[in-house]
């Protein structure tokens, strides 16, 4: 009985990968635990182990093939006749998994470079005409921002779990150890409270630390230093004790990692005076704002998003590309309604806006980019133009950034409102693991579009 070997999913977000290398060939005998192949994702190279015993039948995808879809059959194993080990899971998989495997490496490579979505926000207007645009992933943009600042300023260093030798748990610090060495790219033990405190102290002592949290969920271990030590000391010292530090890492829901690993801390940090809070969406903003954050004299909480790391956007090729902190950006102009969002929510808002356009509703989309201080002027100007507003936020609804935007609209934009401002947030529950429940709990473009219909009364 031939067992089909399928392209494995090696991470929660992997959809396809490169079959980099076969370590076995047809006719080889394999046993459970043998390494069969090396598979590359955008994050890393991984080994693919045999689970079953038997003899390799056919290799169906040649090594070097890119863009192999998860679930595609890549080889077969002929199991031992007497080994009736039941593998119903494999046989029962529906045929959709057997996606056609493209063996044309070049064609696939070209396809892989194309951005996943065409929801690229308009470029910041203040760029000089003729500036070249480089397609860059958010992951690379963040790395480039750190590298450029580290080249320019020897006080800047990066510290966190797995940031150096492992090249970052999500590969954001890839290559930094090689370039800057172990004195400036520092692996820590799993001790968030401790290293956040050490970073804060180092900033008080005149350095410019970038503290990476593997995810912001783990920064809850360290939140006392972020808030009580970093945010308040300048005030308490009458302006004597500065704390120029960046706390950064992925924030918000990833993909089915459960309640303890899926939370948006934007509203938490944004409620604290003494902090700057940034949560960019696209690669250019990620780069320009991270550079600004590193240069800032204030403690900055810089919230990234794992699901956005791999998305590609144009980044202007400029030597000193730094964006202003505290400025929102109109990523899509429109006249009928304003959708305010930040981080991954901007992608959903843009998707909703293109759907709405087909239905004759012209939505303006604002990316807040900085959550503290909030750019209320941009939000209010847009409201004055469209008179209707929806806030989209991948996070809990209660005491959210959406709550704050709505307050601003009530206090300062009341005369411009033609309808109550609605918020579209995640359901008010800890994020569940089950695929159907998780999907139901999170925001998406349809939910945003539905709210827009509601405020537009059509």
């Amino acid at each position: 009985m031939a067992i089909e070997l399928k392209m494995p999913a090696l991470s929660p977000t992997m959809e396809e990968g490169t079959l980099a290398k076969w370590l076995v060939k047809a006719g080889d005998e394999v046993k459970s635990g043998d390494i069969l192949a090396e598979i590359e994702t955008d994050k890393a190279t991984m080994e693919f182990e045999a689970v079953d015993e038997g003899v390799i039948g056919e290799i169906l995808v040649v090594e070097g093939t890119e863009g192999v879809k998860v679930g595609a059959v890549i080889a077969t194993i002929n199991g031992e006749a007497d080994d009736a080990s039941p593998t119903p899971a494999i046989e029962k998989k529906p045929a959709e998994d057997a996606a056609p495997v493209v063996q044309d490496v070049k064609a696939k490579a070209a396809a892989a470079i194309t951005p996943k979505s065409d929801l690229k926000p308009a470029v910041d207007p203040e760029l000089p005409a003729g500036t070249a645009m480089v397609p860059t992933t958010v992951r690379e943009a963040l790395r480039d921002a750190m590298a450029e600042e580290m080249r320019a300023d020897s006080r800047v260093f990066v510290m966190g779990e797995e940031v150096a030798e492992y090249q970052g748990a999500y590969k954001v610090t890839q290559g930094l150890l090689d370039e800057f060495g172990p004195d400036r790219v520092i692996d820590t033990p799993i001790t968030e409270y401790g290293f956040a405190g050490i970073g804060t102290g180092a900033a008080m002592g005149g350095l410019r630390p970038i503290i990476e949290f593997m995810t912001f969920n783990f920064a809850m271990q360290a939140i006392d230093h972020i808030i009580n030590s970093a945010a308040k000391t300048n005030y308490m010292s009458g302006g004597q004790m500065r704390c120029p530090i960046v706390f950064r890492g992925p924030n918000g829901a990833a993909s089915r990692v459960g309640a303890q690993h899926s939370q948006n801390y934007g509203p938490w940090y944004a409620s604290v005076p003494g902090l700057v809070v940034i949560a960019p969406y696209d690669a250019a903003d990620a780069k320009g704002l991270l550079r600004a954050a590193i240069r800032s004299e204030d403690p900055v909480v810089f919230l990234e998003n794992e699901l956005v790391y791999g998305r590609t956007f144009d980044v202007p090729k400029l030597d000193d590309f730094v964006l202003p902190i505290g400025k929102a950006r109109i990523v899509r102009e429109g006249k009928d309604v304003t959708i305010v969002s930040y981080s991954i929510g901007v992608g959903f808002a843009l998707e909703a806006a293109s759907k709405l356009a087909e239905e004759g509703i012209d939505a303006e989309v604002i990316d807040l980019r900085t959550l503290r201080p909030l750019d209320t002027a941009t939000v209010l100007a847009s409201l004055a133009k469209t008179n209707r507003m929806v806030v989209a936020e991948e996070g809990f609804p209660i005491c959210s950034i959406a709550s704050e935007i709505i307050t601003v609209a009530m206090e300062q934009g009341f005369d411009h409102l033609d309808a109550p401002v609605l918020r579209v947030c995640n359901e008010d529950v800890p994020l569940p693991y089950a695929a159907n429940l998780e999907q139901a709990a999170l925001i998406n473009a349809d939910k945003i579009a539905a709210a827009v219909h509601q405020v537009c009364y059509r």
């Binding site: 399928k6 999913a9 090696l10 991470s11 929660p12 992997m14 635990g33 390494i35 994702t41 994050k43 890393a44 991984m46 080994e47 182990e49 689970v51 998860v70 679930g71 080990s85 039941p86 593998t87 119903p88 899971a89 494999i90 029962k92 998989k93 998994d97 779990e161 797995e162 030798e165 492992y166 748990a169 692996d187 820590t188 033990p189 799993i190 001790t191 409270y193 401790g194 783990f218 809850m220 271990q221 990833a254 993909s255 089915r256 990692v257 459960g258 309640a259 303890q260 690993h261 359901e427 008010d428 529950v429 569940p432 693991y433 089950a434 695929a435 159907n436 429940l437 139901a440 709990a441």
Partner: protein, 386 residues
């Protein structure tokens, strides 16, 4: 501080103190403290200090005298964990399991050896996210575990927890925690409850070599020792915390010594031999049940697979992994011992077959049972309505 009840180093502490019953650990408080030690006597005191006495007791009698039946049972439980985890890895590759999934392959002897010594359903167990093995070793139905991994309504957390967040109050298995180190004070809290109620139960709290560096672990050590909580701290030292080898993350790599500053006796245990593990558990449990307070055990073990399913595994060589599989495998070790004792190959094969069947059924169940009802999304957030 010095305590008259403290046994000498020569005499294994596990046998003492005889006057204390497990149900009334508070009796130890009755012991009269000796006078404050002088500087000279404190040196002698260190020598007599109980920190090493459990280690000594273990060294004197390394392996548990298991009957054939017992060893067969350990073997079966370890094979169950191995096959279950292999299947889980397979289902992950097929997209039926999502998110993070941490396999216990290679570490089976730890959970089986330790928990076989516990009173299941009475003593508490708590661990981190690498929790499938501890659940199986505590007799929890593989079907409801696998169905949780696939996120189905029939899963032990109704599909709402996933691989890292599973619990069974019936079995006194308290999770299943995703925040590295958090289970350690929680475990001490479970131990506190045992002591408070005087029910004679102990808590076994597992954590990794990486988790051992979290500050809350040491805050817990201090309180557990100060209040003589009935807890066994179990460091599962599998050599790595994600990609960080022990020596790159830890100044003191002998984790069993890390309780010294809190006067918690340590034990250094080979976690790849189920009988050594079980014997160590006997020693530790006797000490803890007698009301002496916590024990810190370090179990030297190894994970064969990546940290989670997405692990580039560049931080160790294939040869290193292969050497562990070939020469230190706990299941192969138990099997060899069974054969040496004259248990027939046939009998062992029968177990293997039965386990394959059990695991196949659990996978089947996990694939075919439906996703949770949509209404589940909003239940269990709070218990009461307000």
């Amino acid at each position: 501080m010095a305590k008259s009840a403290r046994p000498s180093a020569a005499k294994p502490v596990a046998a003492k103190p005889a006057n204390q019953t497990a149900a009334k650990p508070r009796a130890s408080r009755a012991a009269k403290p000796a006078a404050e030690p002088t500087i000279a006597s404190s040196v002698a005191e260190e020598a007599a200090f109980a920190l090493r006495s459990l280690q000594q007791a273990h060294a004197n009698h390394k392996r548990y005298d298991a009957s054939d039946e017992e060893l067969l049972k350990f073997y079966e439980q370890m094979v169950l964990i191995r096959r279950f985890e292999e299947k889980a890895g397979q289902l992950y590759g097929l997209g039926l399991i999502g998110g993070f999934c941490h396999l216990y392959i290679g570490q089976e002897a730890v959970a089986v050896g330790l928990q076989s010594a516990l009173d299941e359903g009475h003593d508490s167990v708590i661990t981190g996210y690498r929790d499938h093995g501890h659940m199986l070793a505590y007799g929890i139905d593989p079907k409801v575990i696998m169905a949780e991994l696939t996120g189905r309504g029939a899963g032990i957390s109704h599909g709402k927890g996933g691989s890292m967040h599973m619990f069974s109050t019936e079995h006194k298995f308290y999770g299943g925690h995703g925040i590295v180190g958090a289970q350690v004070p929680l475990g001490a809290g479970l131990a506190f409850a045992h002591k408070y109620r005087g029910d004679g139960g102990v808590c076994m709290a597992y954590f990794g070599d990486g988790a051992s560096n979290q500050g809350q672990v040491y805050e817990t050590f201090n309180m557990a020792a100060l209040w003589k909580l009935p807890i066994i701290f179990v460091v599962e030292n599998n050599g790595y915390a994600m990609g960080t080898a022990v020596k790159r993350g830890s100044a003191e790599t002998h984790f069993y010594r890390r309780g010294t500053a809190f006067r918690i006796p340590g034990m250094d245990v080979n976690g790849m031999d189920v009988l050594e593990v079980r014997q160590a558990a006997e020693v530790a449990l006797e000490y803890v049940r007698a009301g002496n307070g916590p024990v810190l055990m370090e179990l030297k073990t190894y994970r064969y697979r990546g940290h989670s399913m997405s692990d580039p595994a560049k931080y160790r060589s294939r040869e290193e992994v292969q050497d562990m599989r070939d020469n230190h495998d706990p299941i192969e070790g138990a099997k060899a011992e069974l054969l040496k004792r004259g248990v027939t190959e046939e009998k062992i094969k029968e177990i293997d077959k039965r386990i394959r069947q059990t695991v196949a059924e659990s996978a089947d169940f996990a694939e075919t049972s439906p996703e949770p009802e949509m209404a589940e999304l909003y239940t269990d957030v709070l218990v009461e309505t307000y």
